[in-house]
Every structure is written in structure tokens, then in C-alpha cells.
Symmetry: C2
Subunit: 249 residues, 2 copies
Amino acid sequence: MTGKVYLVGAGPGAPDLLTVRAAEILSRADVVLHDALVHPETLALARKAQVYAVGKRSGRHSTAQKFISKRLIDSARRFDTVVRLKGGDPLLFGRAHEEIQALRRAGIEFEIVPGVTAASAAGAELGVSLTRRGVARSVAFVTPRSGVGERHNDWAASVLAADTAVIYMGAGLAEEIRAVLLDRGKGPHTPVVLVENASLPGRNVHRGTLADLPDLARRMGSGPAVLLIGEALETSIAEPAVEALLRRA
Amino acid sequence: MTGKVYLVGAGPGAPDLLTVRAAEILSRADVVLHDALVHPETLALARKAQVYAVGKRSGRHSTAQKFISKRLIDSARRFDTVVRLKGGDPLLFGRAHEEIQALRRAGIEFEIVPGVTAASAAGAELGVSLTRRGVARSVAFVTPRSGVGERHNDWAASVLAADTAVIYMGAGLAEEIRAVLLDRGKGPHTPVVLVENASLPGRNVHRGTLADLPDLARRMGSGPAVLLIGEALETSIAEPAVEALLRRA
């Protein structure tokens, strides 16, 4: 008899943007393995669990990933309810694939509990719909980062083809993102918004154009950030009501 | 003194995939205006509210949209807490833009509460990550539908450029989607999965290739569906463990 592993999305940051289902599973979890950025109040919901941080350090991914998968499998062989808690949605840049594969190979039952992804929280922060009837009917979520030392540019094709693009884990690559997108024909005046710590009290919003992107990025802190690009963001720059809303933040 | 309007994501269908924040706001709402597909258990959380369905019928969008915006504004002038409850995430194909604009113009305070979008729930149902390190680093969410009578093909560019694509509100356009994507060079053997009623007891999963898409669509019921396209979906076809999981569904 082995237990079950739940790959759970913790949402974008604020503890009350967790789903009711995730809260219920955490309340009966025996073991929780969580990423670095999960909110302490979310972890506190796991009242009876052994709770372990397994956040990966950049550049040491592959070793750490195998270690996490092994711990998940070992935990499921000893406990009923094992939670792997990830920021955002587990299936969007959550590196769930490696863990799912490992669980399947080991014959461990698992279930995925979806979460609110950072792009949705960033749009909510800005008061801007990522889609707009007749104007923005495609949204791309991309990351320019990949495996250790590996960096391709095909993420750019997706950004260029979509009406609105949200770049995850790209704030440290602002120079490269600007250079690649400008080189491939994106207009320098395209509105961009960097949202750091979306949904959290320490949130920061930096708005400008693609040409300004490196300057905007330099003004950011060290929190997780998403970069939104596209004409649909124009609203967030032009309208005084939004300015007022953002000043409150 | 006017009240505040909350544009709230009800999540993909299952009532426990609502966020804790959304549940809290519903519990103190005075008025709720909701889309057709929100779960009765979710509506029941609005214990003290007047609850109205404002689901739009296809082809009568623009009139209905103005009417909804007007009701939101009128309600905010009479009540403290007004909730506009939308399926999924309000900012992804939720037509939030028109309502946000109307609220801004009327000077009504509003807040957006993000939700879990259908694509995340569909991926969770399939046990397949929409991104995969080194293989799928871009995901596009698109809709081939637009305004009344209006249908463009630029949605296809975004599908073609992304590693994984999720098409919203496209199940009724299977013939057109196949024709356009094949014509523009997408391989006929590209894996596709139609997920109907993701996260609900009546869920249905139909898997095949782009070439089969119209056949898959004909086997569907009338529930809301998303269409997932891309090599990352291959796992959901090939692996016996997933087959077993899906048979349970």
C-alpha cells in the first residue's frame, strides 16, 4: 500500500489565492515538499504535516530535481498524503513534467491540483484583461530560460505571434529580451509592464515600452516577476483611473 | 458613497477550485451577477446576496454586454459589495475588458480576483504539464471566435509559433481549425486532446491527432471544452498509466 502524491499549485503569492481544494488537501497532508516562494501562511495550513523546503538553486537544477522526485516517491511509500507544493500553477513553468514521469515510472498514484498562475495575478493587479474582443485573442506564456546553460531564442517566435505575451522568469534577461524582440521586428514603443511580487504586499509595477525594458528591470527588487508585453497593456499606461489604482499599490 | 465591484474568477468548474478569496467575497456579497456555467455550489456561497444569471447568448453579445455593464454600475450605486462572477479567470477570454472600461468611466471602484483557467484544469485532468523543460517553453491560449460574425485567422499564427496551444471556445470550429492549421504547415500527426467539462464529474476526454480533430469534436457533448495541441500532449496518448487514469474519468 502506497500513498498518493498531490502536485498542488499554491497560486501566485497571496495565501488567499490558494484554491479551496488545495487548502483541504494541505490540512490532511502527512508530508509537504514545497518550493522556495510559497507563503508561510499557506504552509501553516499543513497542520499535521512534516514540511520541507526543496527550492532549487539556479544552475544546480538536474541534481536537485532527481532528489526531489526520489523524496516524493520515498514519501509516498511511507505516508498516505504527500503534497508537492509549487508556486502558481504546477503545469505552467512548474517543472512538473520530471516529477510526473518519475511518479509514473514508480507506479505511484498522483493527482494534479491546478492553481492561479502569475500572469492572471499580474493582470488583476494592473486591472487589464489579457484578452480583448477583436483586439487580443491570443496570449502566450513563455520563458526564455531553459536547462543549465541552455538558452534558445524560439521563445521569441511565440511572443511575436501572440497579441499579448507574458514572459516568466525573464526579468534577469531584460537586455537579451529587448535585443531579440527588436531585432525580429517588434516595435520599440510596444507597451511593457514588469510586475514583481504580484498579489503580495511588496508588489512593484514598472511600466514603459520595449525600448525601456532594461531600465525598468534595473528598478526592480529581487522578488519573482512577470513581464507583460502587448497593446492590451496600453490601458494600464494611458488611463488616469489605473494610475490612481497603481499608486495605492 | 458607491460600493465596490469584484470581477471574480469562478475557476474551471469544480466548486472547490475556487480561490479562498473568491469564497470570502461571495460570502459577504450583496449582489452577484454570474455567467451561465458557474456551479450551483459556488453560487450557494453567496448566502445573503441577490443572485442573477446574466449569461450571454451567442450572437446577441453587444446588447447583452452593455446591459451587464449597466447593471454592475447600478448595483454598485445601491450596494456595498457587488460580484461579477465569471468562469475560469476573468482576464482570459472572460470579456472583462468591456466591463472594466465601463466601471472606470463611471468612476466605480473595482478589484479583480484571478481564478484557475480551463487550460490548467484540462492539463491537470490529463496529467500532462503544458510546459516542459527544453521541449515546451511557450504556451499559447487562443480563441478562433471573435465579435458577432467576425472571424479572423491570426489566432493560427499564435498556435503555430507556440510549443503547446490551448484553444478556447473552438470545439464548434473543428473543421476550420484543422483546415487552417494544416494549410499553414502544422503536421497532421500533431497530438490533440479535447477536454470537455474539465474538473467536473461529466468530464470527457477525446484524444487523437490534428487530422482526426473533426471526428473527435463530433463525439463531444455540449459542455464547455478546450482543445490542447502540441507534442507535450504526446505523453497523454502514449503512457499506459495515463490511460488508466483517464479510464477512471
